[in-house]
Amino acid sequence: MSSVVRSKSIRCAVVSAAAVTLFTGACGTGGDRGGDAGPPRSGGTLRFSVASDAGCVDPQQVGSSDTLYSLRETVDSLTDQDPATGRPVPWLAQSWEVSPDAKSFTFRLRSDVTFSDGTPLNAQVVKANFDAIPKLGALAILSKGYVTGYVGTEVIDEHTAKVTFEQPNAQFLQATSTAALGLISTADAAKTPQQRCSDGVIGSGPFVLSKYVPNQSITITKRVGYGWGSPLWSKQGEAYLDSIEFTVIPESGVRAGSVQSGQLDVATGLGRADEAGLKASGISLLTRSHPGAVFNLGLNNSRPILRDAQVRKAIQAAVDRRQVVEAVFASGTVPATGILSHTTPGYTDLSADLALDVARSKSLLDAAGWQVGSDGIRRKDGTRLSLTVVWFNNSQNTRAALELVQQQLKVVGVELQLQELQVTQFPALLGSGDFDGLWGGDLSRADPDCLRTLYSTQQVNAYRLPPSELDGLLTAQAAEADPVKRAPLVEQAQQLVVRNAYVIPVVELETVLAAAPTVHGLTFESSSRTRLHDTWRS
């Protein structure tokens, strides 16, 4: 971990994760107000705002964080993942075994769990859930990806279920801790994906979905008698809050202003522009980097110019990540120090490889035969060193970040031409490969297997990587059930991606939320989404 780069936020993340409970303000500029609030109190409604509505209230189908903030609370998972260590801990499953070939996973379930329709949790429910997931529509991007190669689930006894895959699938254990694989009742698992989307599903979670108005709000209410929470939660039994109302507010200024004026308790998705007002009102921001692959400038490695590793490395050395973070992103955001964010289990610090070094960048380009032309842009055999970078306006900071990178690269003689596209054009763009660079490439996942999803040539391979030893490493780590043996494989894979500069890591994607001083015990789970069971209002 680099001590210079972001000592404060790292300390924050580590301390808060270790303490599990993160009191509002603990990592902001303000003091810890948790101490003044007295002992935790039950009751009340938390007013929580999100930016968007996915149009679907089935946690197994939705991929958007904005909707998962609420739906996460309505379903429990087989396992939970410790945000501090990345280790799986029991939840609905008391224990589990992974076969040495990482193809089958046997879960022993708690026997005291019921869904909110009164039906009990048993091995049959687990089977019904996993049998249904591969049949979900293409909307279920997250959950379906987690069970690729699913063979079947065997009901061994009332409370033991064995899930089997065609090929080694080490990531599956972490996947069972996500909301996307949260368990729903057998009756709902049998419904059509559309029905589940519009009517919602019955889970066994600490809250129950009570009202959904598309584009407007999702309301969840406390499950009375809940008593099978994750051991990572500080409170056992029922949640503190009676209900939580998630209001959809597209304008980030309105979200922030509503927290300041007391119309809301929590606002998510805040940007740098909202910070001054919030701080002036004594409200501090809570942040945690998303685990998984960081925001990056993905390069099309099949393009003639970019096939040359020296050019890619020169681009890598010319990007001043710190400047991008400070100028564009919310405070608390940290520059990338590797291809994975520092909150990802198995993360390797490669900040030395990502240091800004303009002189090195220039000499790499010189060595590759690119000479500076009269307009400051380099040329080689009549070709200008000009790259078209595509971006999608679905994230508020993208344009500003890219324009800054554009200026930074111009210093070493590389021209970036920015091209904005609609999100709907993304699949077609991947198919055609008609880009030099592609901004984004982030993938939130608290498991290093996201590297295989992004960079294995057997997968989508959006960046047109050539087959290499990286493929072997990515396949091997997916087959390694033992975390100790898996770690070095994952580390080498990260090194290969960064040292070959297949993509240029820039900044870690951050959850930024503001909470009123009356909100306490708001914590982040391993995927950097909120955990609201322990949350209470004073």
């Binding site: 309105v254 509503s258 999100v423 993304f426 997968q459």
Partner: protein, 317 residues
Amino acid sequence: MGRYVLRRLAQAVGVLWAAYTVSFFVLEFLPGDPVSAMAGGGLTSSPVDPAELAALRAQYGFDKPIVVQYFDYLGRALVGDFGDSVATGRSVTGTIAAALPPTLQLTAAALVLAVLFGGGLAVSATYTSRRWLRQVLLSVPPLAISIPSFWAGLMLVQLLSFRIRLFPAFGNAGLAGLVLPAVTLAIPTGALIAQVLAKSLLATLDAPFVQTARAKGAGRIRVHLRHALRSASLPALTIVGLLVGQLVASAVVIETVFSRNGLGRVMAGAVSVQDIPLVQGVVVFGAFVFVVVNLIVDLIYPVLDPRIVVARPRSYA
């Protein structure tokens, strides 16, 4: 009169068909593809099975030739069936029906405010005999029209919700939640009405029949409101008809700023993911409302001015 009504009805049907057709082909020729967009959603995640994409395409009929798709959709649309939203799986008619009441509330309230504000402004500007006051009042509409609704909305929220805490900043809750969005929406609309009405009032006040009325000894207020306003409101009425379309379009912005559910939000969301059935449904519905309102306006003309049907059937189309 019968032929006049029939001609207007035929025009209305033509407008609906044109709206449907144009939106269908525009969406069809946009770059991108709704099915792979819903499966990819802007994520570089797991690869999507091509067979599954093909099945989805078939399910929504996107695999057929475009002309066949067009007539398929058109045939079903004629009986009011716009299919299911690609993004949510809900029926298009159901989605529109659910989003309609809040938008109707908003646009109706805005229209009433706009007529009161615009009408009041125009009447008082033309009624006053103080030259400076008239100048001041007449300069309000151009100013109000040039304020972007987005900005006006955010300013109103900042002032009346965050600072003074008079009204909620977001949501569809009751009358209090309607005030700020309706006022925001009424500003440019009312300004347009004021602009047009003031101009035509000024012209009418100089017309011979008004002079005659005055000469016969009618009171100033009576002349202004009974004689001049009635005659001068024709152009303003035309504008109101057109504004209904604009109000629905502005609802996209207003509903976003004030976080209200409604047709505008549905439309914005549907366009961003190229949800063809849903966009089609909203476009046709919007055109329907527009056509009906203008039909009503057309039918009111002869009541206000009987010469229209007889002498100049086409000039107000």
